[in-house]
Symmetry: C3
């Protein structure tokens, strides 16, 4: 039997995703479980985290399991991911050993590894998580790399709670927003994947063509709408994009053509601060919901008024991280 | 019902504090409990900790609960506490979201947030913990900000163990000591509050008027002695202050008039190294007990001889952190 | 009754070590235990760790106990280890208080404290762990200082799994290898101690006399072979050392005569890169096993081919850390 990982929702069938969401809903009703009794998960953070750390560590505990939190390069040794390298630089240990040793100790390995933001052609290979999946002998979970599949499920769970189980045909706007730093495209990629997967009428709203997402994810999205009966539109016009929307999902990201040359991108980004989600824009929607993956800079990505309005379901979505991740851990740990 | 926090002992009646101390004594006799069964606490450390970390994490575990340790700005995102700010600086996330999301995950939130030591008029507002209390929907516990109420209870528990339950009228000296850095007034404020609360005859001993504590705490102390039948004296004379003391509690702190201008304070501080607690001073006491909140620089704040003498109850006080914090957690978590 | 620590295997009789290894083997067959029920261990890391952190934290959990992970100087206060010092420098807290307070909270204290690499005459006193053992009132476990006794037991367990319980007379090569930095001698000292203790025919292979280990460990090794019937040889000839070996154990370390003057050692070290463990060298052995304590720099200390060969038992050895440490914790905690 092939070992099942949770690296991207694209590897999981719609029925399987529905199954995870049902289990998540059950965990939301009743938190305790024994699915990880006597089992353990290693949480490897190459980047900081608040929600992910808390929800995974607590989720494992609530299922009777034990989470071990590691920060390689900080409280653990820096890791080499390239194959065949003469390791005479900074890295002290190869992923082959790290993954195999951890697989002896724990039953699941979860990894957060953001891009290095220097060369997108390298970052888009998502080497860290794939190296873990290749070398580990236990299931590997993506805690955000260049996609963020746990966030996807939490997002869909929150949408379903507010809009009903069938999201087909809902007008969904994924809007780019300004942020003083060029951020990861992970949550944008993920929103595109999952919204198209669930058959929504998706508009990707961004300042210009430079802010389109990587072709891999644009292609997945087109393939998803073909299968799900959804729709995918790219727009650079704020007003028409917001008009009639059922859902506005905001995220900032750096423009891929400027990847690693962020000084060149800055003027473009700075000229697009008006993409902030505010009450005027939300007033154009169909009494639409607003969400964001958090952390969110208030009055930069969205105004206080939007964040504090009843339309904002970002806190529900954040809570759901706990429930969906428990469903993922329980499912993967039950493969044995 | 209003949510009850543990931000300062001044918010709790003397009967309630006695109740916490009784429960702490019971936990000292028998460590295990189920009061946090199925519950969790987030421990947020904006500053380092050894005793507090260990005693809270272990205490939650001994009550059947789970502690999640977070260090915002280090392994989690830096947090914004001001309301209405355009968050285009260093902070990535607003307390409104942090507190509300954590409240979905856990049942208690404990916060350590020291002053920034630049402007006392800002630091004295104690914004971080109050922001958590305002935005969280679960009880918030003060793990040291500009007061240290957990230390207060641990201190009183240790005094009662050695002097008996009734501390009324005991001669209590809170002495400033030298330290190479200007430290937080938190434990000094707290000692003043709790010693006056329990009716002791309290002397605040410090080099000069510049080392008086903030008027808020001086006023609370005067109000406390009026109610408890205690006494409050300020002294700059070491010998008369120590003479006949039942308890000597030492702490170093920076002089508030020099707050943020520490170079100007240095000569004053450096001229007062003789405030060190040594055997000669302790010999003036009524066979007095010595304590300190720890960490303590030996031979700077107190000599080896004092620290290693039977009069020193600092280790008992440190142990009691575990017991009183369990009482606090159990009480707050039982509000539901 | 004297409190028993686990600071070095030399303090434990051969029968006691055999007992620990038997218990470790039992834990390998069945992970769950209740030996630490209601008990706790503090894990103090003055240096980074991946395997040690994970295996101790998880091991304590599997025995029903709770591990508290502390990093003094990072998330806890920097500690003073000298006696009688006027603590007006960087350290905020004395080991006397740290050890005594932790002893009130937990039942076991484990410490990782590498040398400072400035003055071997200081580092060889191993002050940190000995200060903990002197001041703590609970058992102290060495998680690697200038020896690494937990690694020793994991190593022997792995050798026994592959070669049978009786290791007497097995040809064992401890080979120095190149590494771009001068590393700790701890694992080399430990390999020398444990291999001679178990009666093997031990060869210490290193570039020249400067790479001999500290006389304390050379003397222990000679004393061990006298008692165990083993043999100790020093060699600088790669080919004859490898020929017929049953076990090749690799480790890099800095040459003690150059301690703290590492620039002077560099040319010698750089000239000895050919000590890398490769297939050609392994072909000289008696179908020998290869191991290393990890982390290992691939293609610097050993080639990919060796690491990925069936002869490599480094992953088994790493797994065994979990089992032997559980045996150590269970044994020490059971003293009460």
């Amino acid at each position: 039997m092939t070992l099942r990982h949770f690296l991207t929702t694209q590897d999981w069938s719609r029925a399987e995703l529905d199954g995870l969401l049902e289990q998540a809903a059950a965990f939301k009703r009743s938190r305790a479980g024994r699915q990880l009794e006597g089992k353990a998960i290693a949480l490897l953070f190459f980047n900081p985290s608040m929600r992910t750390r808390t929800s995974f560590e607590l989720g494992a505990h609530q299922l009777g399991g034990k989470a071990i939190v590691l920060a390689p390069g900080k409280d653990a040794w820096p890791i080499e991911f390239e194959v065949g390298t003469v390791m005479d630089g900074e890295t002290e240990e190869h992923i082959a050993e790290v993954a195999r040793v951890l697989s002896r100790y724990v039953d699941l390995i979860a990894v957060r590894a953001f891009p290095k933001f220097q060369d997108w052609s390298v970052d888009r290979e998502d080497r860290v998580i794939h190296a873990f999946a290749r070398h580990a002998t236990v299931p590997v979970i993506n805690m955000e790399t260049i996609t963020h599949p746990c966030q996807e499920l939490a997002h869909i769970q929150a949408l379903r709670e507010h809009l009903g189980a069938d999201l087909t045909g809902r007008k969904y706007v994924l809007t780019w927003t300004y942020h003083p730093k060029p951020l990861n495209t992970a949550v944008a990629n993920s929103a595109l994947l999952i919204a198209t997967r669930f058959g929504m009428d998706v508009t990707l709203l961004c300042p210009d063509e430079d802010y389109l997402l990587d072709p891999r994810y644009m292609d997945f999205a087109r393939q998803n709408v073909a299968e799900s009966g959804g729709r995918l539109t790219v727009s650079h016009d704020i007003e028409s994009a917001y008009r009639g929307a059922d859902v506005v999902y905001a995220k900032s990201w750096g423009a891929l053509p400027y990847f690693g040359r962020w000084d060149a991108e800055r003027p473009v980004r700075e000229a697009s601060k008006h993409f902030i989600v505010d009450e005027a824009k939300m007033a154009l929607t169909n009494n639409g919901l607003f969400s964001h993956c958090l952390p969110l800079r208030r009055n930069v990505k969205a105004t206080d008024a939007v964040m504090d309005s009843p339309a904002c379901i970002a806190i529900d979505e954040a809570e759901n991280r706990l429930h969906v991740q428990k469903a993922i851990m329980a499912t993967l740990a039950g493969q044995g």
